[in-house]
């Protein structure tokens, strides 16, 4: 049971730190949920890519460094500690790429991954539909067979960053008569600028178009943009939610850096004898450390060959609630300066962002059901 880093990890850390110190933009670019900020973040992806830091966990042939999970954790710590910008390519790198590694063809990987790594093509996800929130099995958007491909029609929603992104991926019903709703779904990729696609940005609570509705009207998708077998989309989508991505959805480095910033804010603004605030700041420090060590243990299990299954639900509930509490504490520390929407050091925008945590990627209610039934073995109920 140890927490030491290898010499190689230490060297990797030093290299990442030096590069980031030299390249991280100051002041940070505008919010990535704006047109200007999106462009700036895309440029930052290109810069990261030029230093081969954009996709450290990928094989070298696609622009990565073949980093294992421990190297990845080191990189993430350095990345957030350096105050580097949020990752506009996160959906592609975190969701689509692992699917392509597991289920894509050589041709797809060679065609799709390099421009994803450089930020040239930014991907949006297209999972949810208006009547299918937590209940993905009831998806209705459909793909109809046509010569050399599929024609997609229907409506997707809550497509993060689709307001500005280039392409999207998601599940479409291609065999509507299957008796079980999980069957007959196909995993497809499509161009957001293709004929038949209408993107309607949706403004989140702070007015920023952080996601969009997608209206699809006979959008042609060639066969080469189907991932895996048609009709196997559900299985393919699920197979890449239960692996180590449960650990990698939010990296510990993010919260370690946030907690450090919070302590700085507290030392700068608060009366240290105000124990009510002090206890909440301490809890942020404790929570970040707990999340880091929990992830280290999970990564060690992955490295030892275990799979991460329903345990990722523990992770999801923890970080999403942690993130809100941390930002609430920051706003309370800021007092009257916590009210403006463009409040100090991004705390206000971070708070709005944090509020989505318990809702997306499977609501925390669903996650708790999963924890109770799959980890604790409690009997299924009707909820």
């Amino acid at each position: 049971m140890d927490l030491t880093h290898t010499a190689d990890e230490d060297a990797f850390r030093a290299e990442a730190r030096a590069w980031l110190r030299a390249h991280v933009p100051h002041p940070p670019p505008p919010s990535l949920e704006t047109a200007e900020g999106f462009a700036a973040h895309r440029a930052w992806e290109a810069e990261l890519h030029s230093g081969r830091w954009s996709v450290v966990a990928w094989p070298e042939q696609y622009g990565g460094r073949g980093a294992d999970v421990f190297h990845w954790l080191v990189f993430e710590e350095e990345y957030y500690a350096a105050g580097a910008p949020g990752r506009v390519s996160q959906n592609g790198i975190g969701l689509l790429a692992p699917t392509l590694f597991d289920h894509g063809t050589q041709e797809q990987r060679a065609r799709i991954l390099p421009p994803m790594a450089s930020g040239e093509v930014v991907w949006a996800q297209a999972w949810s539909e208006p009547e299918a929130g937590s209940d993905l099995a009831s998806l209705r958007s459909r793909g109809v067979r046509t010569a050399g491909g599929w024609l997609l029609s229907g409506q997707k929603t809550w497509s993060s960053r689709a307001a500005f992104a280039d392409r999207a991926f998601g599940l479409f019903r291609t065999a509507p008569d299957e008796d079980r709703p999980h069957r007959g779904l196909t995993y497809l990729m499509f161009d957001l600028k293709a004929p038949g696609v209408t993107v309607r940005p949706i403004r989140r609570l702070d007015g920023k178009p952080a996601f969009a509705e997608l209206f699809l009207d006979e959008v042609f998708v060639p066969d080469e943009d189907v991932i895996g077998e048609p009709g196997q989309g559900w299985r393919i989508a699920m197979s890449t939610t239960g692996n180590e991505r449960g650990l990698m959805l939010r990296s510990p480095g993010r919260y370690l850096a946030a907690a450090r910033r919070l302590v700085g804010l507290w030392r700068a603004t608060a009366d240290p004898s105000d124990t009510a605030l002090r206890d909440r700041v301490a809890d942020a420090v404790i929570g970040a450390r707990a999340y880091q060590l929990f992830t280290c243990a999970g990564a060690s299990r992955v490295a030892a060959g275990s799979a991460i299954g329903a345990e990722s639900s523990l992770n999801k509930v923890f970080w999403s609630e942690y993130d809100i509490a941390l930002h609430e504490t920051a706003l309370d520390l800021l007092g009257a300066e916590g009210e403006p929407a463009d409040g100090r050091d991004g705390w206000s925008e971070g708070y709005v962002f944090s509020l989505a945590g318990p809702i997306y990627a499977g609501t925390n209610e669903i996650q708790r059901d999963i924890i109770a039934e799959r980890l604790l073995g409690l009997p299924k109920g009707r909820r």
Partner: protein, 393 residues
């Protein structure tokens, strides 16, 4: 004892409710946020005609009041309907001028407040650099540098609210504690009570001692700085300019400011309660309609229990708000502010979670209440400040 609204009070709130529903405040609020105060002003006139502002103005200045119980009931409705504008601040100005007891400034503004012609806003030392909706208000009042009376057990630490004399508001730290300072409290405890992070660095060295304290002044600011949107964009924040006409000065201003804080807290608490009730109503409706896994999500026990807890918090805040309006004691008002502010914020968190992604959008009117809950929780006294006030002997 009959701790229930009277028939007249019920008729009043019903008529307000009907009037406000017809006035469609959500549209007015959206226009207000976009910098167009015209629809909000029209609603304001309607409120004045219904007598809402007159409740805060004494009869001898053209009002019907002071009638805090009716005012609290009215502000629950204002919260329920998400009415935009400096409604709380106008009431606070009325209370301040009434408490000041100086006929000239009172007669200058109070009749206009009662009639709905004056839309006032107010900044006191200790509540941050901003005044709410100064761009739309007809009168921007500022109290500068109200020195605290040292409380027992607070040796040699009587200064408070320093650095606000310039009115520039750039020195946020100077405003740490004066809403409590205006209450004559103990500075050291106030700072611990703020929870606003503005305590440290207030400048112990530069803070004037008790002897150096200038007398507090009440002035009309000649204008305001650029507007910053609050996390609730319907709340438009700006820093009042320095200078302008001084209406009053002296220790009476501090006492009157303390009274203004009481009224502002009471009205904010009532507004927060109404905000929370509206959030709960809309969420109950949503979860009864929205289906997942083949059933309405409102039939899931986790959803039920969260909404039950939301109702409990609101239904125990309600008597605190109405009771504070009846007793008008400082501790009751502070207690009501804590409970209503926290209950409304809890309702907002529950409403957002149970609406799911749709609740996270600006497009749904729900956002008008959602985004207001947290600022109202903190306005005119954070929970920490108000908890400190509850225990002040």
């Amino acid at each position: 004892m009959r701790f229930l609204p009277t028939d007249e009070q019920r008729a009043f709130t019903r008529s307000l409710h009907t009037m406000l529903r017809a006035a469609r405040p959500p549209a007015a609020a959206r226009a207000w946020a976009a910098g167009d105060p015209a629809p909000g002003r029209a609603a304001w006139t309607g409120l004045a005609e219904a007598g809402v502002f007159a409740l805060a103005v004494p009869e001898n200045h053209g009002g019907l009041g002071p009638l805090p119980a009716e005012l609290a009931l009215a502000f629950v409705e204002l919260g329920r309907h998400a009415v935009p504008g400096p409604v709380v601040e106008t009431v606070a100005v009325a209370a301040l001028l009434t408490a000041l007891g100086d006929p000239a400034p009172a007669e200058r503004l109070l009749p206009g407040i009662a009639a709905g012609e004056v839309m006032a806003t107010l900044r006191l030392p200790g509540t941050g650099p901003y005044a709410l909706d100064a761009d739309a208000a007809t009168s921007v009042l500022v109290v500068d540098a109200a020195p605290a009376v040292p409380g027992p057990g607070s040796p040699g630490d009587g200064g408070s609210g320093s650095g606000s004399g310039s009115g520039s508001g750039s020195d946020v730290k100077g405003h740490a504690d004066a809403s409590e300072g205006a209450h004559g409290g103990d500075h050291a405890r106030d700072r611990n009570g703020t929870g606003t992070g503005t305590g440290k660095g207030t400048g112990d060295a530069s803070r004037p001692g008790p002897k150096a304290a200038r007398p507090p002044t009440l002035r009309i600011a000649p204008g305001h700085g650029p507007v910053r949107a609050s996390a609730d964009p319907v709340r438009r924040l700006s820093v009042p300019q320095g200078g302008g006409e001084v209406l009053a000065a002296g220790p009476g201003v501090a006492a009157a400011a303390a009274t203004a804080v009481d009224w502002a807290r009471l009205a904010t608490a009532a507004q927060a309660l109404g905000t929370g009730l509206a959030l709960l109503d809309r969420t109950v409706e949503h979860v009864g309609r929205r289906a997942q896994f083949g059933v309405p999500i409102g039939s899931f026990q986790a959803v039920k229990h969260r909404l039950a807890d939301t109702l409990i918090a609101l239904e125990f805040a309600r008597p605190l708000v109405l009771g504070a309006a009846v007793s008008m004691t400082r501790t009751d008002i502070a207690a009501a502010k804590v409970a209503a502010g926290e209950a409304a914020y809890g309702a907002a968190r529950a409403a957002l979670q149970l609406h799911g992604a749709i609740g996270y959008t600006e497009e749904l009117d729900l956002a008008l209440w959602l985004r207001k809950a947290r600022p109202l929780r903190d306005a005119w006294g954070t929970p920490a400040q108000c908890r400190a006030a509850v225990l002040r002997p």
